[in-house]
């Protein structure tokens, strides 16, 4: 009984255990070359494909180089892609008993989810930084202020936060890595049916109706609007503030719903 008294009274706090869980997730990312490569080139791949395969950087639209319009949209819409791994890892952790092990330890189990979100944010910051640098390298120029540029970057992180909960939920629902991968593919129609890659005006009516009313379109438009600064109104029809607020409302909605779902799935296990 003496040993229990010696080791049992202390308890890891929620912030401390969140950092510990996040550290494990970040290390496992950094030390798995496939993940690093994937996390780094995913966004970059889209940009480079656009630039060199479709020659997109050469076009202009209403007097502005098309690249200035495309890059921010691509990056915003690419955020969910960089987080698909979260669904897979979550499902695998469940499958292998890693989550059981964690939940059998005397720390607040909310840290298991919070740690994952924190780790996602770190990894996403890395991916976004690389993608932004490559964006500039292929000819993108910021028309908004530096502050607007930073806000655009921060907005992408907020979207990431929301999608982190989505993919955690999918991972917890799926139960194994392959099923999670399958479920996570649901993000593709959402992404490609958005304003990010194709202007919604060119879409058939039904698709257009869908594209105009879904979160990725509003996120892509918000980041675009910030990057275009003063040109936003002419290009997109509304001021940057309009798009930013819209995308933040989407993010908050997604976060609230999927936070609740993820917690429910986590508890049920």
């Amino acid at each position: 009984m003496t040993t229990i008294a010696a080791t049992g009274r202390r308890r890891a706090t929620l912030p401390a255990s969140t950092v510990l869980i996040a550290k494990r997730a970040v290390l496992s990312f950094l030390r798995t070359p496939q993940l690093v490569v994937l996390g780094t080139v995913q966004l970059v791949g889209i940009l480079v494909t656009f630039r060199y395969v479709f020659g997109g950087a050469f076009g202009t639209s209403q007097g502005l180089p098309y690249v200035d319009f495309a890059v921010p949209g691509f990056i915003a819409a690419g955020v969910p892609f960089t987080l698909i791994g979260t669904a897979v890892v979550m499902a695998e952790d469940l499958h292998t008993g890693f989550i059981d092990r964690l939940r059998s330890l005397p720390f607040p189990s909310a840290a298991v989810l919070a740690g994952r979100v924190l780790a996602d944010s770190v990894v996403l910051t890395w991916s976004l930084a690389i993608a932004t640098a490559v964006g500039f390298a292929i000819g993108f120029r910021l028309h908004g202020s530096i502050l607007q540029g930073l806000a655009a970057f921060g907005l992408c992180l907020v979207f990431g936060l929301a999608f982190s909960w989505v993919f955690m939920t999918l991972g917890l629902l799926a139960g194994n890595g392959q099923a999670a991968q399958g479920l996570a593919m649901l993000i593709f129609p959402l992404t490609f049916g958005s304003s990010a890659y194709v202007p919604v005006e060119t879409m058939p009516g039904w698709l257009r109706a869908f594209a105009e009313n879904q979160p990725i379109t509003s996120m892509a438009d918000a980041v675009r609007a910030l990057a275009l600064g003063g040109h936003a109104q002419d290009f997109l029809g509304h001021s940057a503030a309009y798009y930013v607020i819209r995308s933040l409302m989407w993010s908050a909605g997604i976060m609230i719903v999927f936070f609740a779902l993820a917690v429910a799935c986590f508890r049920r296990r």
Binding site: T3, I4, T7, R10, A12, L27, S28, R103, S104, F107
Partner: protein, 325 residues
């Protein structure tokens, strides 16, 4: 008097229509290794998970070290360690990092965590590999690391769910050695297994479960006596001799010899001292009759034979295997 390490009464857990625990009763005295033995689907994992506070029981009472699992799950988590059915270590962290992480999650300050990690690594012979990534470990090393992770905090009760499943024989023996001696260090052990041999090797008390209930329990020697002791297998060269051999080995008051036509083997429980005498006489008669034997061996009874002997029925697992054939 000290609290029982585990006290389970009438545990019921349903998953939809499936009843995984069906009124399970179990008491574990302090200071021992208890093996829960049962076929696939018997409810072993469900029981372990409920002790580890990981699932909500539909009914029943469950106490660990006197603490109610339902009312004070967090207090229970402070006194248990869990190593699940798969080695749940992070492959992209070193052995040391894995242990330090768990120690920190137990609430230990960094220095204590480091010291405990080192202690566990040394104890399990992993010190030389402490700073290699766990993904480079063999299956056996990973299991040892997994086991060690639970021991960074000196739990009062260690739960091991099928700790050696999937290990090669050498790694299995190494893990058995690692489990030995835990009790002397003040940690009681509850482990699950599908192998009587493993239960007998490790545990002072065996609880056999099937369909989510306890079928039999007791010290290994006593249980084995009830099922007729070790099994003698006689392998004949000529299939035609099987009946003759079976008849020679039959003894009044003992279980009938079983004949397997496909493998040309007659198997029979050795039984008590008198029974063994009878078997020797039977073997002599077989020899006198000039029957040619290919081989002869003595082995532990298989789990299926234990079930047959104890319940007169095959286990749920075996019935399922038969149904799918």
């Amino acid at each position: 008097m000290a609290d029982l390490t585990i006290e389970a009464r009438g545990l019921i857990k349903r998953f939809g229509k499936k009843t995984a625990l069906d009124g399970l009763d179990l008491a574990v005295e302090p200071g021992q290794v208890v093996a829960v033995l049962g076929p696939n689907g018997a409810g072993k994992t469900t029981f372990v998970r409920s002790v580890a506070t990981l699932l909500r029981l539909d009914s029943g009472e469950l106490r660990v070290a006197g603490i109610d699992v339902r009312r004070e799950p967090e207090a229970v988590r402070r006194v248990i360690g869990l190593a699940g059915q798969y080695a749940s270590v992070e492959p992209a962290m070193t052995g040391r990092e894995n242990l330090e992480m768990v120690a920190r999650l137990y609430g230990q300050p960094a220095r204590t965590a480091r010291a405990n990690a080192t202690r566990v690594l040394e104890r399990f012979g992993l010190a030389g590999d402490a700073d290699r990534l766990a993904r480079t470990y063999s299956g056996g090393m990973r299991r040892k690391l997994d086991l060690g992770a639970s021991l960074v905090s000196t739990p009062r009760l260690l739960l091991l769910d099928e700790p050696t499943t999937g290990l090669d024989p050498r790694a299995r023996i190494e893990l058995w050695d690692a489990i030995d001696g835990l009790v002397e260090h003040g940690t009681d052990v509850l482990l699950t297994t599908q192998y009587l041999e493993e239960a007998e090797r490790l545990a002072g008390h065996i609880v056999i479960i099937d369909h989510g209930r306890v079928v039999a329990s007791g010290p290994p020697a006593q249980l084995k006596r009830r099922v007729g002791g070790n099994v003698l297998e006689v392998h004949v060269r000529d299939r035609a001799d099987l009946a003759k051999v079976a008849a020679s080995l039959a003894r009044p008051g003992h279980a009938e010899p079983q004949v397997d036509e496909a493998t040309c083997v007659v198997s029979v429980g050795a039984g008590d001292q008198a029974g063994i005498g009878g078997l020797i006489a039977g073997l002599r008669a077989i020899d006198d009759a000039g029957v040619e034997l290919a081989d002869i061996s003595v082995r532990q009874p298989k789990l299926e034979e234990v079930f047959l002997a104890l319940t007169g029925q095959e286990s749920a697992g075996q019935a399922r295997v038969r149904a799918t054939k």
